[in-house]
């Protein structure tokens, strides 16, 4: 399998597995995996790339008549291969808890006190989110994950106005619940 010391520049548009340079596609795969991959997993980068490549081949074989691969498909394969590896290693406890699972979420671990408080808040959020009305809870969850009302409405299959209302009411419920747990402004 060819390898490149540096990844080629990202290329928009579809990739053709049967015609394009495999190194080009592999480079794009590696670039996408790097986006998702925690730093502590970087030593496993080539393993993940290889696993993703196999997935990509498999996907191509399932779609023989259409050998072209969209950039979004490559990103999806890269994401799934990376998360599978994260999950596998976490199950084996090869990633210590201080490392965190997803690198961007591990920032709080730099400060143990903040990490403990973050965990406390997270658990309170979990408890509160599971205790409020289902639809409100779903809308608020997506809101906390950074989705706009429009996006949340599309994902959940509701109208924007309904979703907005659910977010507002859900946040009010959440606030009350957190206050009951002693987290009050």
């Amino acid at each position: 399998m060819p390898s490149r010391p540096t990844d080629p520049a990202p290329r928009p548009g579809p990739f053709d597995l049967s015609a394009d340079d495999p190194g080009l596609i592999r480079g794009e795969l590696r670039r996408q995996i790097t986006r998702f991959c925690p730093a502590r997993l970087r030593n496993n980068l080539e393993d993940i790339v290889q696993a993703a490549w196999i997935r990509l081949e498999s996907s191509r074989k399932k779609n023989e008549g259409n050998p072209s691969l969209g950039a979004s498909l490559i990103a999806r394969v890269a994401f799934c291969a990376t998360m599978d590896e994260c999950r596998r290693l976490r199950r084996r406890r090869e990633i210590s808890l201080e490392d965190g699972g997803i690198e961007r979420t591990a920032q709080a671990s730099d400060d143990p006190a903040a990490a403990a408080q973050g965990l406390e808040i997270r658990r309170a959020l979990e408890e509160c989110l599971t205790s409020i009305a289902e639809n409100r809870s779903l809308a608020v969850t997506l809101h906390l994950l950074g989705h706009s009302v429009g996006e949340a409405a599309r994902l959940l299959g509701w109208t924007a106005s309904r979703t907005e209302n659910l977010v507002y009411r859900g946040l009010a419920d959440l606030r009350r619940c957190l206050a009951a747990k002693g987290i009050t402004p």
Binding site: I102, R104, E126, L138, L145
Partner: protein, 229 residues
């Protein structure tokens, strides 16, 4: 002192925080499902199942967050809240500053411009706050803290542009919705008297306006204060 943006970010970080609990449970959705749900490629009912799982599974929530990729822009509701750009004052008697920050973030997100109300007494004449909605071009024609009669509780504001539609929400100080109106063509709303019947005299309420511009964009005002006679 953290500003509003960092507080909101702290809350989000808390939500995708990776706790010291066993994860990747057998019930966890496959990464493919998480990716597809986050990108709108799943049926909404399936997406709701996945999102329901995220509430109690920090690792999957973190994966969802990663699947969303690099999102530089906060959600639109947060933008309205962040527009206030007002630092959150420290409070005493709280478990931790972080806990306060996260809780304050909830308040800010929930209330949008109402966060400003929490930071100052109701009914004062201070108009220096950014809740006047100047950021969105919505200027109230009801004076700050003005007392309005129950029978003619008329909220008015300057028109933003011809053809714009307005939606208005009226809240109690505890953020309980009192009443709302949608798609108003005129920049005013006479609040139905029956929706005010249970409120005590002297109650201070907050209202905010969402504007749908002709080109489809939506703008959200800050929160304005008004008192019930």
């Amino acid at each position: 002192m953290k500003d509003d943006a960092s507080v909101v970010e702290a809350l989000r970080r808390a939500f995708v925080f990776h706790p010291d609990v066993p994860d990747s449970k057998a019930s966890c959705p496959e990464p493919e499902q998480i990716w597809d749900a986050a990108h709108g490629d799943l049926d909404p009912s399936q997406t709701r199942e996945v999102v329901g799982h995220l509430r109690g599974c920090a690792s999957c929530a973190a994966e969802w967050s990663a699947a969303m990729g690099e999102r530089e822009e906060p959600a639109e509701m947060n933008r309205a809240a962040l527009a206030a750009r007002r630092p959150i004052p420290p409070r005493r008697g709280l478990p931790t500053r972080w806990a306060w920050a996260a809780a304050a973030a909830l308040l800010i997100v929930a209330a949008g411009g109402l966060a400003i109300l929490v930071q100052r007494p109701f009914g004062t004449s201070d108009t220096s706050g950014s809740r006047t909605g100047a950021e969105t071009g919505v200027r109230p024609l009801v004076a700050d803290g003005e007392t309005l009669p129950r029978e003619r509780f008329l909220l008015r504001w300057e028109p933003v542009e011809e053809g714009a539609l307005y939606s208005v929400k009226l809240f109690r100080p505890n953020l309980t919705p009192v009443s709302q109106a949608r798609n108003l063509q005129q920049p005013e709303w006479l609040v139905p008297v029956e929706t005010l019947s249970d409120l005590p005299s002297g109650e201070t309420l907050a209202w905010r306006v969402e504007v749908q511009l002709v080109d489809g964009r939506r703008l959200m005002s800050g929160a304005f204060l008004v008192r019930l006679e």
